[in-house]
Amino acid sequence: MERKNQNQRKKKSHQKELLLQGNEAIVEGALRAGCRFFAGYPITPATEISEILSVKLPQVEGTFIQMEDEIASLGAVIGASLAGVKSMTATSGPGFSLMQENLGFAIIAEVPCVIVNVMRGGPSTGLPTFPSQSDVMQARWGTHGDHPAIVLSASTVRECYDITIKAFNFSEKFRTPAIVLIDEVVAHMREKMILSDEEEIEIFDRVKPTVPPEWYIPFEDTPSGIPAMANFGEGYRYHVTGLTHDIRGFPTSRSDEIGPFVARLHRKISQHFSEIQRAEFFQTEDAEITIVAYGCVARSAKRAMIEAREKGIKVGLLKLVTLWPFVRSAVEKVLQTSKFLLVPEMNMGQVSREVKRVNRGMAKVLTLNKVDGTIITPEEILNRITEVS
C-alpha cells in the first residue's frame, strides 16, 4: 500500500498540470524542442513569447536578445542556427512582412529556424489586439521567388506546444524555416494542459556530416534531397550565400546547376508531404456538409457540428493542422464524400481558395468570411449550414 502511494507521488512529480496561454505553450514547446536562441522585437499579440523567453532562456544556457527590428531578429536567428543552435523568433503580421527578405535567405541557404506569427487583422497596423486569420497567404507567398513553405496552425493550447515542437523538427530535418501560424484567440486563451517529463516526444536534430571536411559537399543532392549540415566552427569551412549556388555553395550562373538546385529545394519538401501534412477528421464519414477549419474557428466549427447533428443534419469537420503544404489529399477525401464543403475563415477567403482549387466539381464549396475583428461563432456557422441543408 505504502509502495503504491510512493509510486503515485513519483508519477505526480513527473507530471505538471498547467494553466497556460497559447503563447506560453509555444515557449514550453520551443524549450522542449531544444530552442536555445531567440531574437525578437516587441509586437502585439506575440509579445508574451519574447517576455517569457527572456526569463527562461538564460536559465538553460540559452540566449535571448531584443533586436532593433524584425529584419534584424530573423537575421540573428539565422546566424545563431548556422552556429549550431536551434533558434526562433516570434512576431505578428507587420513584423512578419519585415522578415520576408531574410525568410527567403533561410530557404535558399537551407538554414533551419522557426518563425511564430500570431496573426492580427490587417493590412498595416490593422487590428493589433483582435483575432484574425489573414496571413495564411503571406505565410505561403510572402517572400520573393519560387519556394516551398511549411506552415502549421493550432486550435488548442496543447496543440501550440505540439506544433512548435513539430516546427522545430521539420526545420531541422528538412533544413528550411518552419512557420507557426496562430490567431490571437488561441495565443491568449488559457486552457489546462498536462505536461509530462515521461511523455515520449520525438525531437529531431539536424543531420551533421560524417565525412572528413575535405569530402564534405555542403549542398549535395541526396535521395532525400536534404544535405547534411555542418555548423560553423566545427572544422567544415564552407560558403553560405543567398545567391543561387552550386553543390559546394559557391555562386553559380550556370543553368545546368541552377535548375537542379531550385528543383531540389522544392523536391526535399514535396517528397515528404505525407510526413508534414496533418489534418484531423471528425465525423466526416457520413457527412453531407463538411466544415474545413483551422485555428480558433475550428473550435466554433466543432461546436456547430455537434449542434447540427443534434438537429439531424449530417455535418463533419476537417480540421487543418498543416496549412502549407496544402493538405490536398485530406481535402479531396471529404470533397468526394460530402455534398457541401463550408470554409469559415477570419479573412476574405484564403484557405477557401485552395479548397476551390482542388475541388474540380466534386462538391459545392461555401465560404463564411468575417473580417471585423470578432470571432466566428458556432451560431454563425450553424446558420450558414441550415441555409443550405
Binding site: 536555445r36 536562441f37 531574437a39 526569463v55 527562461k56 538564460p58 536559465q59 544556457e61 540566449t63 536578445i65 533586436m67 532593433e68 527590428d69 529584419i71 534584424a72 531578429s73 530573423l74 537575421g75 540573428a76 536567428v77 539565422i78 546566424g79 545563431a80 542556427s81 548556422l82 552556429a83 549550431g84 543552435v85 533558434s87 527578405e101 531574410n102 535567405f105 555548423n231 560553423f232 566552427g233 566545427e234 572544422g235 569551412r237 564552407y238 560558403h239 553560405v240 550565400t241 543567398g242 545567391l243 559546394r248 559557391f250 555562386p251
Partner: protein
Amino acid sequence: MGEVTKLIHKYLRHDKKFPHVWCPGCGIGIMLGALIRAIDRIGFEKDEVVLVSGIGCSGRLPVYVDFNTLHTTHGRALTFATGVKLAKPSLKVIVIMGDGDAVAIGGNHFIHAARRNIDVTSIILNNSIYGMTGGQSSPTTPYGMKSSTTVYSNIEQDFKISELAITAGAVFVGRGTVYQARLLDSLIEKAMLKPGFSVVEVVAHCHTQYGKQNRLGTAVEMMEWQRDHSVTVEKAATMKPEQLQEKIVIGVLVDKALPVYQNEYEKIRERAKATIGR
C-alpha cells in the same frame, strides 16, 4: 613566389572559380590582403574565423577565402553576425560591408550593433558609390558630386562613417585608405584584438563608376589623391577645422573600453539560474 603571395595563397580557396568579380585596379583586393595579413599575424585558426558580408562588390569578398563564410542579405550582415557570435562566442566574427550596406540599408543595424557592443569587427569599404549596380549615389557620396542617380549634382550631405560609429558607441574605430596598406594591416589587427564592437573604415576608390562620372582619373590617380589628402590623427589635432576640409583623418580615432555584450549576458545567465525553483 614572394612571401606575401605565399601568405595570401595559404588563405585563398583554390577550389573556388576564379577570377574574382572585381574590376582591375579595385581597392577591395588591398583590403582583403590587409585582412589576411592581420589574421595571419594574430594567428587565428581558419576554423574559428567567421567572415560575414552583405551585398555589393565588398559582399563578394568572403567567398574567396578559406574560413567559415557567410554572404547575407543587403545591409543585414551585422544581424547575422550578432546571431553567430552570441550562439558561439568562441568564434571570431568579422563583418565586411560597403558604404551602402553599412550606413544606408544597414544603418539601423550598424548603430545598434555598436550601441550593444557586440563583439564583432566591422570592416567597411567606403568608396562613396554603389559600384555593383552601376554607380548610384550612396550616403557617403559627397555634396556636389555626380553619380548615375545624381547626374546634375548630389544635393545631400554625406555620412562620416567613422564619426557615426564613434557616436553610436563603438569601442574601437580606425580609418585608413587603400593607399596605406600597412596602416590597414595594423588597424585591422588592433580592431580584431579589441573586445567589443570595432570598426575599420577603409576609404577606397571606385574609378570604374565614381571616378569616371566625376572625371577623377585612373585608379592610380585616385589613390594618389588618397595619399595627398590623408592626415594622421596626430597631425589633425594640430590643424584648424577649415584646414581639415576635404582631408581624410587616418589612424586610430577611438580606443576605449565598455562592457561587452556576451560577457554581460553571461552574468544575466548566472542571475537567471539563481532564480530557478524560487
